[in-house]
Symmetry: C2
Subunit: 311 residues, 2 copies
Amino acid sequence: MTNKSIKIFAPATVANVACGFDIFGFALDNPGDELSVTLNNSSNVKITKISGDSGRLPLDPQKNTAGVSVLKFLEHLKSKQGLDIELHKKMPLGSGLGSSAASSVGSLFAVNALLGHPLSPLELLPFAMEGERVACGTAHADNVAPGLLGGFVLIRSYSPLDVIQVPCALNLYCTILHPDIEIRTETARKILKPNITMQQHVVQTGNATGLILGLTQGDADLIHKCLQDVIAEPIRSTLIPGFQGIKEAALHAGALGCSISGSGPSLFALSLTNTDAEKIGEAMSRTCQENNLNSHLYISKMNFEGPRVLS
Amino acid sequence: MTNKSIKIFAPATVANVACGFDIFGFALDNPGDELSVTLNNSSNVKITKISGDSGRLPLDPQKNTAGVSVLKFLEHLKSKQGLDIELHKKMPLGSGLGSSAASSVGSLFAVNALLGHPLSPLELLPFAMEGERVACGTAHADNVAPGLLGGFVLIRSYSPLDVIQVPCALNLYCTILHPDIEIRTETARKILKPNITMQQHVVQTGNATGLILGLTQGDADLIHKCLQDVIAEPIRSTLIPGFQGIKEAALHAGALGCSISGSGPSLFALSLTNTDAEKIGEAMSRTCQENNLNSHLYISKMNFEGPRVLS
């Protein structure tokens, strides 16, 4: 038992999805983190190795999201089981792709599997949210929920927590462009205004409800019309040099929609085929380069399974 | 041709539906208006008779919603056809049940039928909205759209106008309690605040998107959880004496949800059977009476056809 070990993949996630501020998110197949977790003979949770973070993440499990989530989980189980966690960051930090969420989700998924699945993915959610609280100051669920459950997720309510996987009638592909700048989630939250107009609310809710209808009914035209954000994007896009041009390039290349992934700086664009996703990616990259900004591109279908066991 | 005549029923409608301010509405089978329209030999649109309004509605077609909508429609068609309209109000005015909308919708539906259906119900919508502009100062669509199309309707966007009938996987029944007071739509709009908090927006959008999911997936429990309004109801309910008690009585009697119909003063409650709808109605009536307020009750299933020809 003591040397029992597991290696898993935990997906990057796109939160907000244009019209669903704090309530929508979906999971990707690429990029994502890899984590190896091994049960040890002590009662200590240790982060033994972190790669891919340029030395920026803390090894102290009380300060690392992967550690915090697992400590809360073990506390809930009243378990004294010790573990060694190896965290291989395979996505950029502070990119708007749910990097901290992937680490929380991955460690919880791995430990839950090693302990014989005492909890369901949904039941792991509150512990993953505690990781988010450490990472960015608020226990938001729009990265960790799709990360754990896979697919397109609606966080219907935070109090009480109510999370629903939205049945999607289409296979959607996602292009992610990560411009070579960093935006802290905290900063991106602070620049938003505490109030919005009723008019903004009506427009945004029309699109959010329309997007759910488009996804469940498999209506690509409706999805296209609804992928608009009149609340966060107009403010946050000012933090991303050349945003409008990159977005327009994506739409011109056939994207169903394009907006900021989470709090940015990454942009996501949705499309119906892998070929479209690649074509859109080329157009976005080129435009970004024209703004003298380097970027990294990821192409992925929507991930409907959540984390998965690698070995 | 000249004596060609039609008699039709036009449904009352419930707008907002708790979490969908300005974007949700559904049609009822009861109550509703009856209209008789006859082609005449002149080029004049005349309102020849109005009953059930206690003499309050104008006979001048330029000032009556039924007249305004039809005049706009005929102008669009470049038609000089004259008509006589008889309007039989079979629902209370200023009740929050879309009384003005029913008159607009009914007259348009009748004239369109008499002229051989030059336009589809959806194409009639802009003319019905002009009627709403005359009746309450804003060309809102959340009564006229479900009135014309039937069923549960999402007004995804006002600019450009985009209206979608939401496919409902459940037969829903509606209890309407109309307390014996009157609230003008204009007044009920004015007391709303022009701004809301981001927190209100997130909660309301979670419920609005959840309601769409509940309706399309036939998930009564989800519908129940989503029928909440944190924006308009807390303010508008202050205009309705005993509102909280009546709402609680409806929920206690098994309603999926209960809120203000449109801008009030009517309350609607949704349920899964006619028996439940009646039981809920009794509980609401009784509570209203305990507040020394008379009320009128309507029980109806959701109307999925819109207006219908009576003879």
